[in-house]
Amino acid sequence: MTDTAKRTSRPPRVLVTKIGLDGHDRGSRIVAAYLRDAGMEVIYTAPWQKIEAVVKLAVEEDVDVIGVSSLATDHLLLPDLMAALGAAGLGHVRVVAGGIIPDGDEAELLRAGVNRVFHPGSPREDIVATVSHLAAQARATCANG
């Protein structure tokens, strides 16, 4: 088992998904495999999830982190997702986004509560370390809240 998995009492649980209209999944497949190989449990969905479906899924699977892949313009829906997660009492769940997300939109996403935006070429170690760190944060917040 890797260090990532050993540090926490159970493997981080991460939802890897896509919202909106686009269906390109090369990136999300690769990231899901990265996270699995780092000892995490990845819940993987088909693209085009409705926001309410992502919220329901996050509740039922008790995930620590949600990773949203966006290669077209679907990142524009992320502020709505953040609001819906908050309303459902999932404020502790950390959210990262990755894919083709214009620089100029990044600040807006971070303001909406997205914890991190990854761009093409983001190193594997960075993705794994960030998700692992955010998962630990999510658990701590949830336990202390």
Binding site: G20, L21, D22, G23, H24, D25, R26, R29, I30, A32, A33, V42, Y44, A46, P47, W48, A72, T73, D74, L76, L77, D80, I100, P102, D103, G104, D105, E106, E108, H119, P120, G121, P123, R124
Partner: protein, 565 residues
């Protein structure tokens, strides 16, 4: 003062080779083994031992002649340059109209209509989240929308690639506009660019609208309809691009594309159509990665394989059926967000590979695609790149100029073998339709994507600015938000859409959709029950894109692609 010239006897081949090998090995301290993306081992040197003149007629022949390696036309680019086809689509139909006019003015010779992702998914503008509308393509749902797209542009004079999956509602809307403008359908030319539902099921899920068996049926109906009514239209474009973008190696992408084409040809033949009539209308669409020689070899090998496939498997006698016509697009996957101006160099190299590979039509990516939807300046540079390669660099002066290169000919033959091996795997799985239902190509592609990514992660494959030659302060272009369509214009468009629906003849639309549903439930091939003919009739009667898609999804099943983790 003049030296006495040194006269040496010409060495023998064997001894010269041995000497070179020794010198070479002395200089190479690392393991010199290299493999290209398709897994073929690349030697440091190729000679007449690898490929010799005796093979000329068997491997190459002459342009426009079998085995087609050197190109499908006798004159190739010397006679007629490739078509410069840039993708356009953004915002409302008016926005599209403006951009198309700009591109035509800048030297573009054909249109390529990119609809909004909401259209790709089969929905009308009132069925999706407003913030997404028109952000990556034009919102086109009705015959009025299509009319606006081509305002002041003669649809009979322009070759149009319509990027629209089956049931091809946008072509249906275009035909409705032709009727309205009294333009004969025989003058409508272009391609159904996204007719390859198998590639959508496998690799571009957004485009997959109708369940597999229904898709299979509608495509054959579309081919039959075009054969009868649209002599200038290419109803089938088999797309290798999606699979290569999804991670397939160049050899896999070519093999899976050929397997898909074989499947479609078999389906058409089963319907009773004549291969010598429908095969000349088959076109292909490939991705060109930056793996320069490999891409050239891929395209040449594909051309050689296709003529053999159509002759051996389909008994095609018509020389036009032997032609492997293809559009190519430079690969967006190779472009980097880091140091984005480097992408201009990448696109140029990719484009050269495509040109030397003998393409018929080319799209060059804008360097900033990886940052956002391209800016107009970046789109202009993309077109300029093509103009420079053609007119300044004189790449078109000689046909298939790299032919006879020991390396390229060897590589072309090796790629051909690699492609054939994959075709044999798919044949063994019962053909492409059965293979994709079982997930075999999806699995291959997923694995190849990971293998390549691992090479990048480990630094085995260099990506400048990403895993090598990084710069601490990226002198990137200024941060730019996504260009978003004018919200008030989009809201006005929505209002116009609602008004269109309110004002049309509801009875005519209902009747047309009922007729469509009946045709969908009739046995394939039933006379008078061609589904695509009914799609065109429905569009003409005022049915919207979303209504037609919804009707067929109801009758033939909603398209759920095989998503694999």
């Amino acid at each position: 003062m003049s030296e006495q010239p040194v006269q040496l006897p010409l060495p023998g081949f064997e001894s010269a080779r041995a000497e070179w090998r020794q010198d070479y090995d002395g200089r190479i301290d690392r393991d010199g083994s290299l493999r290209n993306r398709s897994g073929i081992e690349i030697k440091p040197l190729y000679t007449c031992e690898d490929w010799a003149e005796e093979r000329y007629m068997e491997d190459l022949g002459f342009p426009g002649q079998l085995p087609m390696t050197r190109g499908i036309y006798p004159s190739m680019h010397r006679g007629r340059t490739w078509t410069q086809r840039q993708l356009v689509g953004f915002g409302t139909p008016e926005d599209y109209n403006q951009r198309l006019k700009t591109i035509l003015a800048a030297g573009g010779t054909a249109g390529s209509l990119i609809p909004c992702n909401s259209v790709y998914r089969g929905y009308d503008c009132d069925e999706v989240e407003l913030p997404l509308l028109g952000t990556c393509g034009a919102v086109v749902n009705t015959v009025d929308d299509m009319d606006l797209c081509y305002r002041d542009i003669g649809i009979g004079e322009l070759s149009t690639a319509v990027n629209d999956p089956l049931p091809f509602t946008l072509l249906a809307l275009l035909l409705a506009v032709a009727k309205r403008r009294d333009v004969s359908w025989s003058r409508i030319t272009g391609t159904s660019n996204q007719s390859d539902y198998i590639s959508h099921f496998v690799a571009n899920h957004m485009f997959f609208r109708i369940a597999l068996p229904g898709s299979r049926r509608v495509l054959v109906d579309h081919v039959a309809f075009c054969q009868e009514h649209l002599p200038g239209w290419n109803p089938i474009s088999v797309v290798g691009q999606h699979m290569q973008q999804g991670g397939a190696t160049p050899a896999e992408a070519m093999a899976l594309t050929l397997c898909t084409a074989i499947q479609y040809a078999e389906d058409c033949r089963t319907r009773g159509m004549d291969p010598d009539v429908f095969l000349p209308r088959f076109t292909f669409f490939f991705d060109i990665s930056i793996s320069f020689f490999e891409e050239i070899a891929k395209l040449r090998a594909g051309r050689r394989l296709w003529q053999r496939i159509v002759r051996e498997r389909f008994g095609a006698k018509n020389p036009k059926a032997w032609r492997f016509k293809f559009h190519a697009q430079t690969s967006g996957v190779d472009l980097t967000r880091q140091q984005p101006l480097n992408n201009i160099a990448r696109v140029a190299v990719q484009a050269v590979a495509g040109i030397f590979g003998g393409l018929q039509s080319l799209h060059t990516d804008a360097y900033d695609e990886v940052l956002s939807v391209p800016t107009e300046e970046a789109a202009r540079i993309a077109i300029a790149t093509q103009n420079i390669l053609r007119e300044e660099a004189h790449l078109t002066d000689v046909i298939d100029p790299l032919a006879g290169s020991y390396y390229l000919e060897t590589l072309t033959n090796q790629m051909e073998q690699e492609i054939e091996a994959t075709i044999a795997r798919i044949d063994a799985a019962g053909g492409m339709f059965a293979a994709v239902e079982a997930g075999l190509p999806q699995d291959m592609i997923g694995k190849s994507a990971r293998v390549f990514q691992e090479k990048v992660d480990s630094g085995q494959e260099t990506i400048v600015g990403v895993n090598k030659y990084r710069e601490a302060e990226e002198p990137t272009t200024a941060p730019r938000p996504l260009e978003r369509p004018d919200q008030s214009a989009m809201e006005a468009h929505l209002a116009r859409f609602r008004a269109f629906k309110a004002e049309r003849s509801q009875a005519a639309v209902t009747a047309a959709l009922d007729t469509l549903a009946r045709a969908a439930n009739a046995a394939p091939g039933t006379p008078g029950q061609n589904v695509y003919e009914k799609v065109v009739e429905a569009a003409t009667a005022g049915a919207t894109h979303g209504e037609i898609c919804a009707c067929l999804r109801r009758e033939l099943g909603f398209g759920q692609p095989l998503v694999m983790p």
